[in-house]
């Protein structure tokens, strides 16, 4: 197999995106959607076909040298190793399904060309991140997904909230990107190369302190992209975009890019104990924070957004406790069931007549049993119901944390288990509020497009049986994913301990479900006050940032604007201009338009010159 074929994987979505961007608006909408879907599907087929290339150490291939300056080289190169292979397959597969779904979801929108162009470009940029063999190329994709995310969150830009949500996402993630960019430059300075393989191989040469700093910088970048503390405020607002966008970008792929980056740089990251601890801590705190916020949310997509944040927190925890396979395992299962949940939420919103508030839904089970069952599967996975994909992946992470045995890990583990209970609670709360009880929405919903419905079962299947990817030995599995990634799980607990932990998880899951069942089986009508409004507003982080960052910044800006630009620069410039205008008024009288006048000017000039000659001759 020609390794250069690997370039077809990112190239096809790029082609589709450029095609739709250039001439999509003049083509029939169906064709636009078909081009978008087919290009991503083709990319998926290629990644299936080229799967063998990813075995072992993987394949590195270079299409052309992108930038070269002195000792610095950046290639348009691909590193197709097991990690990238599995991620590519997930990204293209989920993206294909979501594109199909989007074709149904957006069928009445006028701007399909723009939508699908951005969506395809997003897939291209995401694949750049996944496949890049050097950090700069990865960074290109990193910024590309940021831009596409911005464009898609604000897709319905005529509403001001949507546009400002897009801006917020762009600016907040940009803060993280800055850290990543610094890390990139620093790594180049230390190693003289930006090839991921070489950096990882030579990471041991670095000073431990420097290593910690670099790890923290990478963590900062990952935090921005993956909406982790403290750069997480953009994700709930990003739900302003169309639902397929939320499913693709803000659940399955882009937000997991941070986790992927840390996994990609794991050999470097893992060398710094402090850095690893920080990653784990950020992860578990975010998981807890987001789960607590999700408990009080009212909008269906915001609940899911917070749950995404929380689940990604788990992935960070997995990386932090040193289990890349755990992180990737959870990333995969999460991608499936969260895409499923978002797309189910899209169906729910359609059914409820464009209603977002779960307090005004209810009783949708009778309206569309199919959506209910699919959504239920998603909820079960999210809540970590035993034997679903989400259960196994989450369990592996917590198990790994527990198995480390030290006090710090025990705290991490405890917080993780607590979060699992919260997760179970808010998942079932969502389910009960949306599907059970009496109907509370006023408007009549509209019918679902078949495309929307028929893409969901596949994802449900993957979510439900995703656990098979990395089934622990306890359940008779072979931990295929860990072997494939070449990262043996390395956890060996006594059978009793493992079973005990499972039991504990079960108890927390059951507890969460029970509370939700008792409270939300019939809609109680929550008061939005006290701690609930605190949680609803995401612990008031937005207001905190407003107070400590935005407002001082705005003050400085206003000073620069009014004092610096208006008064000083404009004043001086306008003063000079006014002076010129004033004196120019006098000079204007010199241009009489009379030829004779000008000629006389010449003549006097001639006299001057002759006089000058005369003077120098006399001398």
């Amino acid at each position: 197999m020609n390794p250069l074929l690997l370039f077809m994987i990112p190239f096809l979505p790029l082609l589709g995106g450029v095609f739709n961007a250039c001439c999509g608006s003049r083509l029939p909408q169906r064709l636009v959607a078909a081009v978008a879907v087919l290009s991503v599907a083709g990319s998926f087929l290629f990644s299936l076909l080229l799967w063998p290339l990813g075995e072992g150490d993987g394949t590195r291939t270079v299409l052309f040298s992108w930038l070269q300056s002195g000792g610095f080289t950046a290639d348009a190169g691909i590193l197709f190793d097991p990690l990238a292979a599995i991620m590519t397959l997930m990204v293209t597969g989920v993206a294909t399904l979501i594109h199909l779904y989007a074709a149904g979801y957006m069928e009445h929108d006028e701007n399909q060309a723009r939508f699908f162009a951005l969506l395809n470009l997003f897939v291209f940029a995401m694949l750049c991140i996944v496949l890049a063999d050097n950090l700069l190329f990865l960074f290109l994709g990193w910024e590309g997904v940021g831009f596409c995310s911005y464009g898609l969150i604000g897709f319905w830009y005529r509403k001001t909230e949507n546009a400002s949500a897009g801006r917020k996402a762009f600016i907040v993630t940009r803060i993280g990107d800055l850290f990543f960019a610094i890390a990139l430059l620093w790594l180049f300075r230390e190693f003289g190369t930006i090839l991921i393989e070489q950096i990882n191989a030579r990471a041991g040469e670095l000073d431990p302190l420097l290593l910690t700093v670099l790890t923290l910088l990478l963590l900062g970048g990952a935090c921005g992209k993956s909406a982790q503390l403290p750069l997480m405020t953009w994700l709930p607002d990003a739900m302003a975009g169309p639902t397929p966008v939320s499913a693709l970008i803000h659940a399955a792929t882009m937000v997991t890019a941070g986790v992927y980056l840390l996994c990609r740089m794991f050999p470097l990251v893992s060398l710094s104990a402090t850095g690893m601890a920080a990653i784990a801590l950020v992860g578990v705190l975010t998981a807890l924070y987001a789960a607590s916020c999700a408990v009080a949310q009212r909008e269906i997509k915001r609940v899911l957004a917070y749950s995404t944040m929380s689940q990604i927190g788990y992935m960070f925890l997995a990386v932090g406790v040193g289990s890349v396979s755990g992180a990737m395992f959870h990333l995969l299962t999460h991608a499936f069931f969260k895409a499923l949940l978002f797309m189910g939420a899209g169906c729910v919103i359609h059914l409820a007549g464009d209603e977002n508030d779960i307090y005004r839904m209810g009783g949708l089970k009778g309206k569309s049993p199919q959506v209910f069952w699919l959504f239920l599967i998603g909820i079960l996975c999210l809540a970590g119901t035993p034997l679903t994909g989400g259960f196994f992946s989450k369990d592996q992470i917590l198990l790994t944390a527990f198995a480390r045995g030290d006090g710090f890990s025990a705290i991490l583990w405890g917080l993780g288990v607590l979060t699992a209970g919260l997760t179970s609670f808010y998942s079932f709360r969502l389910l009960y509020l949306v599907f059970f009880g009496e109907q509370r929405q006023a408007e009549k919903g509209h019918a679902l497009s078949p495309l929307m419905l028929w893409t969901l079962p596949l994802l449900a299947l993957f979510g439900l049986f995703g656990g098979l990817l990395n089934l622990p030995h306890l359940f008779g599995g072979h931990q295929w994913l860990s072997d494939w990634l070449g990262q043996p799980a390395g956890v060996s607990l006594a059978l009793g301990a493992e079973l005990g932990l499972l039991l504990l998880m079960l108890i927390f899951f059951g507890g969460g479900w029970l509370i939700a069942h008792l409270r939300y089986r019939n809609y109680p009508g929550d008061e939005q006050a006290g701690w609930r409004s605190f949680l609803l507003a995401g612990w008031q982080f937005d207001r905190l940032y407003e107070f400590i960052l935005v407002r001082p910044y705005r003050t400085v800006c206003r000073f620069c604007w009014q004092g610096g630009e208006r008064a000083l620069i404009d004043g001086v410039m306008e003063g000079i201009a006014r002076l010129c205008l004033h004196w120019g008024g006098y000079a204007r009288k010199l241009t009489t338009g009379q030829v004779a006048f000008y000629l006389q000017g010449f003549a006097w000039g001639l006299l001057l010159i002759v006089g000058w000659f005369l003077l120098s001759a006399v001398k």
């Binding site: 006389q600 006299l607 002759v610 000659f613 005369l614």
Partner: protein, 191 residues
């Protein structure tokens, strides 16, 4: 390039030529002065032709017979006649407006001052340079020398100038071409 030098053997000729030079110079200045003060452009042109004839003779005296011939043929013969044609074509001479166009004393005054200053400066400048006080030797350029220099050393310049003449002809044709619309208007006004 060979230049024919002829020592002037005849003293009488030199004296004669000197006298003729001053006479011609006077004629030139007077004719020019008359030309520039005429109110009627036709008269001005006629006086100027006079002045140019005198100037052509001066050129001859200064050893440039070819230039003298061309002065008569091109300047007095062609260019000035062109002026006359234009003046007659525009029917400027007989119009009473022409009187108004003539110079009045307050127009002349600053110009006179300027001219006086210029003349004074230049004459002083010339006078200060003693090397110019030497006499001009009696010498003239034969047509042969002239032709060799013009088409040998200055061949490129000749080409350039001929191109310029071509451009000028095209330009003059373009600028002077009556516009279709304006001529129609003129016809309508004429009715």
């Amino acid at each position: 390039m060979t230049i024919t030098r002829r020592a002037s053997p005849v003293n009488g000729f030199t004296t004669m030529a000197t006298v003729i030079f001053y006479i011609l110079g006077t004629i030139t200045v007077i004719a020019t002065l008359l030309a520039i003060t005429r109110r009627n452009p036709v008269h001005a042109v006629i006086y100027l032709v006079n002045s140019f004839f005198a100037l052509a003779l001066l050129f001859y005296l200064l050893g440039a017979p070819l230039v003298a011939a061309w002065e008569v043929i091109i300047y007095a013969g062609a260019i000035m006649v062109l002026f006359l044609f234009i003046i007659m074509m525009l029917e400027l001479a007989p119009t009473p407006a022409a009187d108004r166009l003539g110079p009045t004393w307050w127009q002349w005054l600053p110009v006179l001052l300027l001219a006086a200053a210029l003349v004074a400066c230049t004459l002083l400048l010339i006078g200060l340079d003693t090397s110019a006080a030497q006499g001009i030797p009696h010498w003239y350029a034969t047509p042969r020398d002239f032709g060799y220099a013009l088409f040998g050393k200055y061949a490129l310049a000749v080409e350039v100038v001929s191109f310029q003449l071509l451009f000028a002809a095209v330009g003059a044709f373009y600028v002077g071409k009556p516009e279709a619309r304006s001529s129609k208007q003129a016809e309508e006004e004429g009715r």
